[in-house]
């Protein structure tokens, strides 16, 4: 028993040591290390997959153009899935072992929130791709983000509803973090924006049918519109059930449904669904005078040329994050973490895929409601609403 245990421990040692071998060794002309942890597999892979592809695409592009400050970029990536614990472990690995200069990524709000304490303690700049507003509100010194918040999305949706005279809303949301955060915003904003929530339903993980919930919404008194907070396969299931029940009220989704997969998966049921989305989604429909048109078209072209698959708005978050980071490093003239952080905060009028970013000491997102456009599904494709 004893000797056996000793043998096992001895056997373990090389494994642990091997983990240490990968630790970077300092050198003079070393690359700028950009650390990232994304949900490339698992249920949030629809976020992480295009994000990683975008990062790889543009890191290669920048390197072939001579790099940044004369140094090459090196992307250090781990697949943290949607798991907070993996995110914590991998961010520790990025900070302590890989010794990266900046961290971007974190596909979900959950994985982002989980590592905030770590990056704040390590004092390393961090640009998240997580959706929820809590990431930068309240403000954290070292934390920034690129995607529009669900709060902005709900604001945009409510404004559109108001414009059409709809004030009585039924909300349906899933069990995920995005869903719950969006639902909470829908509740709190309803008061300030003069909306009334007349039904509030939710569904579970992996549910295949939500007609009972929609039936309740359909029968809610005075209902005029339905808002769906969620993403992935659920978006299509909700749309299909909505159609099945012959519901006639206005049908709104959050920006979580802003992907071609949603329309395709809905088998025609997505027709008439309105949602807020990044301009990227309808880049070719933008006015030529729109300053975002050039940036979004360029990203779209590059991505589709390399991967031969439709772009998603999520990859856009990664593009903006990487570019904001690179620009800040250029302006700082070094990878000094404090300087880079200050420069990120000074980002101003950066025309990205998600919108035009102007950050400040009180705003670590730098986007407003205007960065969203409202679109509607028409004839199986996105139609920009003006």
């Amino acid at each position: 028993m004893t000797t056996l245990f000793a043998k096992n421990i001895k056997r373990l040692i090389p494994v642990i040591a091997a983990l240490g071998m990968t630790a970077g060794v300092a050198g003079a002309a070393e690359p700028i290390k950009i650390g990232t942890f994304l949900a490339v597999t698992g249920p949030a892979s629809f976020l992480g997959d295009p994000e990683l592809k975008t990062l790889q695409l543009y890191v290669d592009k920048i390197n072939s153009d001579g790099g940044v400050l004369g140094r090459k970029l090196e992307l250090v990536h781990y697949d943290a899935q949607h798991k907070a614990k993996s995110a914590i472990t991998f961010v520790k690995r990025l900070i302590n072992q890989d010794k990266v200069d900046i961290i971007i990524g974190g596909s979900t709000t959950g994985t982002t929130m989980a590592v905030i304490k770590l990056v704040e303690r390590a004092e390393i700049p961090f640009i998240s791709f997580g959706g929820a507003g809590v990431i930068t509100d309240p403000l954290k010194k070292w934390v920034f983000k690129t995607p529009h918040t669900d709060k902005l999305a709900v604001q945009k949706i409510y404004s559109d509803m108001k414009k059409r005279g709809l004030t009585k809303v039924g909300v349906i949301s899933g069990a995920g973090g995005f869903d719950k955060s969006c639902r909470k915003n829908a509740q709190t904003l309803a008061g300030t924006m003069g909306m009334t929530i007349v039904a509030d339903e939710s569904y579970g993980k992996g549910d295949t049918d939500v007609t009972p919930q929609l039936t309740k919404i359909k029968n809610a008194k005075g209902i005029q519109a339905m808002l769906f907070c969620g993403f992935g396969a659920s978006s299509s299931i909700v749309a299909k059930n909505f159609k099945q029940l012959g519901m006639k009220i206005a049908h709104y989704h959050s920006h979580g449904s802003a992907s071609a997969k949603f329309i395709k998966g809905s088998d025609g049921a997505a027709e008439g669904v309105r949602l807020p989305a990044a301009a990227l989604l309808v880049a070719e429909q933008l006015d030529d005078s729109n300053p975002q048109k050039a940036a979004t078209m360029a990203y779209r072209k590059a991505y589709m040329a390399k991967y031969n698959e439709p772009i998603s708005t999520f990859g856009g978050h990664a593009y903006d994050g990487l570019m904001i980071a690179v620009n800040a490093i250029k302006r700082a003239g070094s990878t000094d973490k404090a300087k880079v952080r200050d420069e990120i905060e000074k980002t101003s009028n950066f025309i990205g895929v998600d919108g035009i970013f102007t950050m400040s000491a009180t705003d670590h997102l730098g986007l407003d409601e205007k960065s969203f456009v409202m679109v509607e599904v028409k004839n199986g494709t996105w139609k920009l609403l003006k």
Partner: protein, 291 residues
């Protein structure tokens, strides 16, 4: 009000039919091997994903369906041959971990062979719902329910009328006695995995237009199917069908009348109640503790 109830019932029966089909797979395998196959949900996924990818590759849908089911059945056979058979005589915990290992492996494989996105199949007979007494049901739901009815009839015929079916039942009742009348119980075990894979794949294809399909679609369906089999009483395929419908309808009614947030807990609360008060399931036979 009654139209609303009917609507909940339609939803419950559609979902319940899916749980039932998965649950029957659990039962059939448990019957011939006392193995709870935690990879049962993955057969559902393989059926759906393979059909989607084959038809996207230009294979006509009926052929794609046949090939997908065939693929699932072959994988079912391989799972038995390569993971279950070598573990003959292992303890319950070991077998649980092995089948969970199979489940993780198959999901990983699907991510590599297919992809990580969700996909949909077009509804088999259009998307126009049918109205019944103020409630509506999609034609695809009818396909699912029809699939369950046919599966029930075929299984009933198989177990009660064919010698192979009877041999399968006999093996579940008394393995040694089955060997003594010349039944190859190893073959029966392989057959049970193939039947379970067949049922899983068929349900995966039938629900793909409703629930969509993706590499992890089987996880929750597998657990709920397990509930269905357990509520009915492990080892009785017909009871698993009743169990599945019961769980599905209970979920829909809970979502409709009580709380949609805790709808998912319903299946598991039913399970605990059944286990505490009727340990061999609602329709199960008493199990004698083996010394």
């Amino acid at each position: 009000m009654s139209a609303q109830f009917l609507q909940f019932l339609f939803s419950g029966i559609t979902v319940g039919a899916i749980y039932a089909l998965v649950g029957v797979g659990f039962s059939v395998i448990y019957n011939s091997s006392n193995v709870i196959n935690f990879a049962q949900g993955e057969f559902v996924m393989i059926g759906g994903m393979a059909t989607v990818f084959l038809s996207a590759a230009g294979v006509p849908l009926p052929l794609a369906i046949i090939l997908a089911v065939l693929a699932a059945v072959i994988i079912g056979y391989l799972v038995e041959k390569l993971a279950i058979e070598p573990a003959k005589g292992s303890s319950v915990v070991n077998l649980i971990i092995i089948t969970i290992g199979v489940s993780i492996f198959l999901r990983g494989l699907a991510q590599v062979v297919f992809d990580r996105n969700f996909h949909s199949l077009k509804a088999f007979s259009g998307t126009e719902p049918i109205q019944i007494a103020g409630a509506s049901i999609t034609t695809q739901s009818l396909w699912v329910i029809g699939g369950l009815v046919i599966a029930t009839l075929v299984l009933g015929w198989f177990f009660n009328r064919t010698l192979t079916g009877k041999a399968m039942l006999a093996t579940s009742y008394n393995k040694d006695a089955a060997k003594l009348v010349g039944i190859n119980t190893g073959r029966i075990l392989q057959l049970s995995f193939m039947i379970a894979a067949f049922l899983g794949a068929v349900s995966g294809i039938l629900i793909a237009p409703i629930a969509l399909t993706y590499a992890n679609v089987g996880v929750m369906l597998g657990l709920k199917g397990f509930c269905a089999a357990m509520v009915g009483g492990l080892g009785n395929p017909m009871a698993a069908i009743a169990g599945g419908l019961l769980v599905g309808v209970a979920e829909a009614l809970t979502a409709g009348y009580l709380s949609s947030a805790y709808k998912d807990a319903v299946a598991f609360i039913i399970i605990l109640l059944v286990l505490f008060f009727m340990p061999s399931g609602l329709f199960g036979r008493k199990e004698v503790d083996k010394v």
